[in-house]
Symmetry: C2
Amino acid sequence: MSLLVLGTVAFDSIETPFGSRERILGGAATYCALSASYLCNDIRMVSVVGRDFPEAHLQMLRARGINTDGIQQRKDLDSFFWAGRYHRDLNTRDTLDTQLNVLAEFEPVVPEDSRNCDYVMLGNLMPSLQRKVLEQMKSRPKLVVMDTMNFWMDHFWDDLLTTLTMVDVLTVNDEEARQLSGEYSLVKAAKKILTMGPKVLIIKKGEHGAMLFDGQRIFILPALPLEDVFDPTGAGDSFAGGWIGYLAHSGQLEHSEFKRAVVYGSALASFTVEQFGTERLANIAPGELGARLAQFSELTQFDLPFEG
Amino acid sequence: MSLLVLGTVAFDSIETPFGSRERILGGAATYCALSASYLCNDIRMVSVVGRDFPEAHLQMLRARGINTDGIQQRKDLDSFFWAGRYHRDLNTRDTLDTQLNVLAEFEPVVPEDSRNCDYVMLGNLMPSLQRKVLEQMKSRPKLVVMDTMNFWMDHFWDDLLTTLTMVDVLTVNDEEARQLSGEYSLVKAAKKILTMGPKVLIIKKGEHGAMLFDGQRIFILPALPLEDVFDPTGAGDSFAGGWIGYLAHSGQLEHSEFKRAVVYGSALASFTVEQFGTERLANIAPGELGARLAQFSELTQFDLPFEG
């Protein structure tokens, strides 16, 4: 099945306790599409880059089978740029610089031949832009997943609520789930968010894993324990890309598939954090993903002597 | 198999966002033995109470099949008393009052007919007292589990290290694992702690579940998501009691059993936090534990279309 991915394609400058990188390839759509590309062979990106964006990055994406026709390139502006520094615990970070550049005037255009995609991933972006993509689709996609963040809750609340009513699945982190719902308990937060539009909610908890709320059913998968998380940038987007990428591959929309998709998303995200930026995610060798899935099984699966 | 449980039997006064209770039954050994009593029918407690301790509490323990012969009763001193107030997130608490009373002069004595117990749970207590129990055993138990806390790391470091060399399993929370090892990464912390004596380490992460480190192998089980955690007091001791109680029941010491034991421990702890003190843990109806285990399966188990 075809998967459309909306989101940023950007330059990131990143400092972690393990080192730093200047102006490396980043952006929500980049991580999301790269991650999905291990599972789904028909991915179309919708984004914007600037005059400073090297063709080599686009070639790398295309080499992974990703269609980049929907990535506009502005000749008069630079690419979106973000710089951040992670703290020792890698759960918190300071933004050192944000230059919107091309993003300030971005109007997403879904190429004509991508307007019937079955699966749509609305990466973190202004909610009105996420909506614009949905409005360009010729028919209702089978599944629409939306990622968002606290910034849109702080400044674009009504807009966010409107877009929320149009999506099937929302992914947020635990603090964002609390802010969106006004509830501290994540179970209560999920109940409330599931009345706001989405039928499925995924709460990303970083090193503590991910929670899937599918109506009354809950599934939890821990993150893979690592000696060191090298660079957490893009982990959430890699998770989302793996999640929807698995579903686009399987074509089934049922609870057992949603659970499997969490395992695939978590496995792919576990690669992302092992190196800076997309260095690891873009270079997963054949067999490595399967081995990582088996690690997740060993980590979480048990059998009981009896049940009931 | 027989299980010996060392630890406090106490009065607790507890305030949570949901209400408060004055001088209710508490103590590490109480929670631990009550929890294990659903799985193991030969439990002997070693502890001390004071002149103010009602016979009804001891009768309740005996009614659950727990042998209380090793609980000394001092006629000249009051029972250990702790008062605390939990914050809104229920992960942090302030100690309002601690009265050691009988604990200040406690010398644990293992009754003659309990000195050959197969399984020993050393509940959180001064490390030298934990050691005194091991020294009274006639032969090396099949399994010795030790719980401890940051207080002993702060004030009885050498003593703690000595006792650590004598146990098979250590249970601590994430902050304590970091303090004990000097490592922030829990994977690195576990590696270091497993060189200090224990062959197995369990890191309790409260709402984020529990991690079992068994040599090179890791198993993680999330906690049961609850709308409200009513009172977290005793959750860690209930977990430990369920963990060793399951193993004492099964008689097997292998990795798959250690994993199952984590599920039993987590299931029993999930009852504890539903009401104040031991109110819920002491009153689990037939069938309720089995239903809770099935909930943990639904929450965590998945199947993959392929592996490897």
